[in-house]
Amino acid sequence: MPNMPAMPFATPLPDQPFPLILRDVACARGEARIFAGLDITVEAGGLWLVRGANGTGKTTLLRMLAGLLKPESGAVLWADGQAPRVAPERAVLIGHQDALKPALSVAENLSFWARFAGVTDNPWPSRSDPFGVWALADVPLRVLSAGQKRRVGLTRLAFSRAPLWLLDEPTTALDAAGQRTVWELIALHRRRGGAAVVTTHAKGTVDGAQELILGEER
């Protein structure tokens, strides 16, 4: 596991749109009310750890912040009054699925996401390799293990221009070193003015992190 470069990000962040403010937000899936009365503010440099039992709406919350879902009631707004739905490029969501193509190699997969994020280096800038997957560049994705795929998927964070990272249990399937890298990368991202909302079942806390526990009576 190589050491992480001091600045693993391929592109600087655009102007800061923070804070992202949620006021009295409720969300329903079909008929079922999942959560209600949610008030949080995501500041520049902030980190929210979202906890809660299965089915309490952690992923739903992330999808809402990514602009994929509309809140049932309440408001989710950036500082300039834009909703995530009209400015989806401000958030990058890395969910349980890695959004990678088994038929393509690691380099082809990552080069696509790099170009998609507006990075023009080809195949992809090797300095943006916090998870040490450069060594696997020519390997087809379908032969990688779950943990390796996860590493490749998370490498997308290094290209992203999005100031807000939405990570859905990012440490799943990763070994101890990989998990450390995730948290280090989040810390670096916060230091450059970004923010992250991370769902996790892991115990322990992170410097300056705020916690949101879903599924409890409020």
């Binding site: 989806p88 490029e89 958030a91 969501l93 959004a99 990678l100 696509f112 998609f116 994020a117 023009t120």
Partner: protein, 221 residues
């Protein structure tokens, strides 16, 4: 623009890597057309009579064959969410994917059709018209198909559903496409049919990406 091209290039690379897409479609088209002389008999008169309709209907079915995977793979591996959350507006995303689909299927079909026309005793003077009508018509099939594929995302038996939705919408393309070739055979003016086909293509270009993008947003919700 470079983002648009990135999506287009990736989809073409995937089509090439899978190998299934283009070759399955061409194989189906060839075999389906080749079955007709066996069924209706070898009389050149009869074959020439049915040639435009058969070539066009089979091209339509072949194009449908590969449509179900247009968004399905991206939907299942989470790429679709990531693509929709990018800086590319969904309408252009649809257009990029429909373009890639056309280059991988519609264009090979168009190129192969004149050769298959020989099978059916299509007169040589009708060949350029067959080519032109398919060149105008197959992009419409890719665009309509994108709407169908987006609407049927996540549905069970999506392929059948897709065919049921897209085939009726493709009727004008079939009528004027086959009509143009028939006019060329009988010595009538082909201009009007081709112009209408071009008009349909422009309409589809304007409407389909918007409709498909709306359906995609709905699908990932």
């Amino acid at each position: 623009m470079s983002v648009f091209l990135a999506v287009l290039k990736r989809d073409l690379l995937l089509a090439l890597r899978d190998g299934a897409g283009t070759w399955t479609v061409l194989g189906f088209f060839t075999i389906a057309v080749a079955v007709f002389p066996l069924g209706v008999g070898p009389e050149p008169e009869v074959l020439r009579r049915v040639a435009p309709g058969v070539l066009w209907a089979m091209a339509l079915l072949s194009a449908l064959l590969s449509l179900d995977t247009l968004f399905e793979a991206d939907y299942r591996d989470g790429s679709l969410e990531a693509l929709l959350a990018g800086q590319l507006v969904p309408e252009l995303l649809v257009l990029a994917k429909a373009c890639a689909h056309w280059i991988a299927t519609g264009l090979p079909l168009t190129l192969a059709a004149p050769a298959l026309g020989i099978f059916l005793h299509l007169p040589t003077e009708a060949m350029p018209v067959l080519f032109a009508s398919l060149l105008l018509g197959t992009p419409v099939l890719s665009l309509l198909g994108a709407v169908g594929a987006a609407l049927s995302l996540g549905a069970r038996r999506a392929t059948v559903l897709l065919a049921v939705m897209v085939l009726p919408l493709a009727v004008p393309v079939l009528v004027f496409g086959a009509g143009a070739v028939e006019s060329a055979q009988t010595g009538l003016a082909v201009g009007p049919s081709l112009l209408i086909l071009g008009g349909v293509a422009l309409c589809a270009l304007a409407v389909c990406p918007v409709a498909a993008a709306a359906a995609l947003r709905q699908a990932v919700e």
